[in-house]
């Protein structure tokens, strides 16, 4: 179609400037096009002629033998039934999106796999949802793995275990190989890293060090300790953080030795012990080497207080229990009584979260839920603990809080915050208490329906956190005669519909 190209070119620059080459003219003439008409007409007629040829003479693309696709592997699991597939379609298209993890887990539990036509959307949607990757891998079947091999965007699901990648691969491929090695043979990973450490760039050092966070143990300590003498601050910082995560690391011991100088127990006349807290005057090289930033602003307070806070937040908070020979609850009480209570409690929160100390997590959350002196503690950042909460602790604490509440849960009530932010499923008991808290208020309240505004987000959360088989129980006994019912009807309908959706979704997944 040389002529077509020549014609399009003339059209682009216009007939005032574009010219026909003589051989092209001859071709057009041979096709019977009248060459004596005005130039524009001639072009238009030729275009019409060639565009028809292009349309009618479309040449298929020839695919050679070697370019032909491989077949996908044979499946070991059945695809879920059509109803489940339709449910998945609804989840992917909007309002029930939060039910996706539940859908995937139930699918896997029932030994089924995802329908093929939904695979591309799921694979794409979950590219950045790392928490869903294990479930995705377990449910996409051979077909999904085959697709992930073809589309590099979906390669996140593929384990690259090519040892050559370490020597010759791109940065991402090396990292993937290193991560794989760390997950399967953690000690070999350290040896490998040590061998090539000096040749690595700053960026790759940072990325590779971070991989060590999984399966961290005493066996990594020697290497990490050597990293504290690195020239670059960025590396030292990561290494110090890793070392502090190793419970009995020398770094933690060193830090604790420093802290013991600063924090001491004093007996007082009224038999109640009190802590005497001294702020660190200096920040010596040893402290800086162990990751303390001398000028950082930590929590609130001045430079010296910030140094103390940083030190406390690193050391396992349980060290203090041993040191004072007290239980976590008792230690916490002493912390609270101190003049530096706020700083000590905030540091304990971070340490408990860092070291996954569940006893301390429970003690801190219980204190926070029950503390009457809200004013004093309102600046605490409690969020790190929310992520550490076990489902049991969440349910126990919230049930305890709800039982005490006679009126509608206040927006600033810790229970409200926990209900709104936690990812844990609600026990049936908890669900009933939440709903009766709302119902009782609706029965009493006659006008101020907006007072319960924050309860809408609790209901939204509950729609996905409550046990869906409670749908029938929960459908009954709503105060439809209440004067504020009409302003809540829609939200409650939504809540019940979501439960019902999840219930049928789970039931349908049980039928193959």
């Amino acid at each position: 179609m040389e002529n077509w190209k020549a014609l399009v070119k003339i059209c682009l620059i216009g007939t005032e400037r574009g010219q026909f080459d003589p051989p092209e003219k001859d071709k057009l003439k041979a096709f019977g096009i009248d060459m004596n008409q005005p130039k524009e007409q001639l072009i238009l007629e030729s275009l019409s002629f060639y565009s028809q040829i292009r349309k009618c003479g479309f040449v298929p693309v020839t695919v050679t033998e070697e370019k032909k696709v491989e077949l996908a592997g044979l499946e070991t699991h059945v695809v879920c039934n059509k109803k489940s597939s339709a449910h998945l379609g609804v989840i992917l298209s909007g309002p029930y999106e939060e039910a996706l993890p539940e859908f995937l887990n139930a699918l896997i539990e029932n030994n089924q796999r995802l329908p093929e036509d939904k695979l591309p959307i799921i694979l794409d949607r979950c590219k950045n949802k790392k928490e869903l990757w294990p479930a995705i891998k377990a449910s996409i079947g051979e077909r999904g793995k085959w697709l992930a091999k073809i589309n590099s965007d979906w390669a996140y699901l593929e384990e690259r275990i090519d040892p050559k990648a370490w020597e010759y691969g791109l940065a991402t491929e090396r990292l993937a190989y290193f991560r794989h090695l760390r997950n399967t043979k953690p000690e070999e990973a350290i040896t490998l890293l040590q061998a090539s450490w000096d040749k690595e760039s700053l960026q790759s050092k940072q990325a590779l060090l971070k991989v060590l966070e999984d399966h961290l143990s005493e066996k990594d300590e020697a290497f990490l300790e050597s990293c504290l003498d690195e020239r670059r601050k960025e590396i030292r910082k990561i290494a110090a953080r890793m070392l502090s995560k190793i419970y009995n690391s020398a770094l933690n011991e060193r830090m604790f030795e420093r802290l013991k100088e600063l924090i001491q127990m004093k007996k007082r006349t009224l038999k109640k012990e009190k802590l005497e807290v001294r702020l660190p005057d200096k920040c010596d090289d040893g402290m800086v080497r162990d990751g303390i930033d001398p000028r950082a602003q930590w929590f609130k307070g001045g430079v010296k207080a910030s140094r103390l806070g940083q030190m406390l937040a690193i050391v396992p908070v349980a060290y203090w229990d041993n040191h004072f020979d007290l239980t976590p609850v008792e230690t916490l009480e002493i912390f609270i009584r101190s003049d530096w209570g706020e700083l000590l409690v905030q540091a304990s929160i971070e340490s408990a979260a860092l070291h996954k100390d569940y006893t301390w997590v429970a003690a801190l959350l219980t204190f926070w839920m029950e503390s009457q002196d809200r004013q004093r503690w309102q600046n605490l950042n409690i969020k790190p603990l929310f992520e550490m909460m076990s489902p049991e602790l969440f349910n126990t604490l919230v049930i305890k809080g709800l039982k005490k509440e006679k009126d509608l849960l206040d927006e600033n009530n810790p229970v409200t915050q926990m209900l709104k932010t936690s990812k844990h499923p609600w026990s049936d008991k908890l669900t009933l208490l939440v709903i009766s808290n709302l119902v009782n208020w609706m029965k009493k309240e006659s006008s101020r329906y907006w007072n319960g505004w924050h309860f809408r987000s609790i209901l939204k959360k509950g729609a996905f956190a409550a046990n869906p088989s409670m749908h029938e129980t929960l459908s009954k006994n709503w105060p439809e005669e209440s004067r504020i019912w009409s302003s809540w009807e829609k939200e409650i309908e939504e809540f019940l519909n979501t439960l019902q959706f999840r219930q049928t979704m789970l039931n349908d997944l049980k039928n193959k």
């Binding site: 298929p60 996908a72 093929e116």
Partner: protein, 441 residues
């Protein structure tokens, strides 16, 4: 009643209407629930003093409800339909009450072609002559418009289409409006399509030139209208924008068959919703396309389930390659399709398409079933490849290319879609066990 719960829920305009409908699918919420073979009707307790009266015509289906909701079908219609499908609390009554039968009658009247009063031969002759006169007048008006159009495209070519990249939308819109004034709405549509082309990809000049040439062909064809053969003249006149009334189409070629729904595609043009439904006749092998429009929030009349068939008669719009049709009559029942036939090789289809495009130069979308093709991804370009190793390019819009690949797993599949002359737009994949509408999420 061969409707399933999923199909009924599929009729809802959105997920929340479906959910609300579901919560109304309980007999206790209704004062009356009755049905016969043709329709379902009921009275639902609402917040007003009077109950809402909901009625469903299964031919279509179509709905009417006295509630104020703007959702269509409303939650009452969905709830009532669900009750009929899933519960046995619906009372079967052969004769519907008057508020239902009146509505059904109205609907039948609208659908049936108007019966012409007996006219004397002279009267018929006069009417025909009048019509021919009106047409001649319109054609001469259009001729003038076509002269303007020709000057306009000659100008485009003279100045060069590279300049079009910097033209504002109003440049196109004004010309399109001028064409509407001249009663050439066909050209107006092509011009509005052209407005979107400049700068829309490296091959935009090719596509622009293609559109210009189709306008030019229309100008040339229209200029010699009276010399054209009858069916081609019909074609040209319709492409230019002279529309047939439904009643006129009902008198054209009508084909009775079992119509199999191959694919449905909804799209939006300006503020108009468009729906293209492709059908193939089980016995005659004829293809048909229903083209429907709905303004703003209005819903399309009726619903077609891909992979199902219904019995009925279609009337075709006249032309050299008749494809567009309307339903003259149909039954309410539908059945799952077992199997459809298609082209075995890409070349067979392309030859068929070339034949049609040769007859009808403005042919844009042509329906196509490819029976045994393997989808492939060749460096980001999707292809459907036949057993001879020959393939056609596929448009990959919202993952449709990847869906094809996922469904095949490297094995041959049967695909239905539209061929635009340059690429294939997939609609539906037919596997042994099911038909999958690729536009579903």
């Amino acid at each position: 009643m061969n409707w399933s719960v999923e199909q009924v829920l599929g009729l809802a305009p959105d997920v929340s209407s479906a959910k609300r409908g579901q919560s109304l699918a309980h007999a206790k919420k209704w004062l009356l629930i009755e049905a016969n073979d043709r329709a379902i009707w009921g009275e639902c307790k609402g917040s007003g003093s009077r109950p809402y009266r909901t009625r469903i015509d299964l031919v279509g289906p179509a709905y009417k409800c006295s509630c104020p909701s703007r959702a269509f079908p409303c939650k009452h219609a969905i709830g009532l339909f669900l009750l009929r499908v899933s519960s046995n609390e619906v009372v079967i009554k052969p004769e519907p009450p008057i508020w239902v039968s009146d509505w059904l009658e109205q609907r039948d009247k609208k659908r049936k072609p108007k019966v012409k009063a007996d006219l004397s031969p002279a009267e018929i002759k006069k009417r025909k002559a009048d019509k021919a006169k009106r047409l001649a007048k319109r054609v001469s008006e259009m001729q003038e418009g076509f002269n303007d159009l020709e000057n306009w495209i000659v100008d485009l070519i003279r100045q060069g289409i590279a300049a079009l990249e910097s033209r504002p939308y109003s440049f196109w819109k004004e010309m399109a409006a001028q064409m509407v004034d001249r009663k050439i709405s066909g050209a107006s549509g092509i011009i509005l399509d052209m407005a979107l082309i400049p700068g829309s990809g490296p091959d935009w000049p090719d596509r622009m030139v293609q559109k210009i040439s189709s306008l030019y062909l229309l100008i040339r064809a229209f200029r010699q209208l009276d010399k054209l053969p009858d069916d081609f003249r019909e074609e040209v006149v319709q492409v230019a924008g002279i529309k047939y009334k439904k009643e006129e189409v009902f008198e054209m070629e009508t084909v009775e068959d079992v119509w199999q729904v191959l694919g449905v595609l909804e799209s939006v043009q300006e503020d108009l919703n468009l729906r293209r439904t492709y059908l193939s006749g089980k016995n005659t092998g004829r293809m048909a396309m229903l083209l429907e429009f709905a303004h703003g929030n209005m819903a399309f009349e009726g619903h077609y389930f891909v992979g199902h068939s219904f019995e009925g008669a279609l009337s075709y719009y006249p032309g050299v390659v008749p494809l567009r049709a309307i339903i003259k009559k149909r039954t309410a029942d539908f059945n799952a399709i077992q199997k459809v036939d298609g082209f075995n090789t890409v070349k067979d289809f392309l030859a068929h398409y070339a034949k049609d495009a040769g007859k009808k130069p403005w042919l844009a979308h042509a329906p196509c079933i490819l029976s045994k093709v393997i989808p492939q991804d060749q460096k980001g370009q999707f292809l459907l490849v036949d057993e001879n190793g020959e393939g056609i390019p596929v448009q990959n819009r919202s993952f449709s290319g990847w869906k094809l690949l996922a469904l095949s797993g490297g094995n041959p599949i049967q695909v239905f879609g539209e061929w635009t002359g340059q690429h294939f737009v997939p609609f539906t994949v037919m596997t042994n066990s099911q038909w999958i509408n690729l536009s579903d999420s």
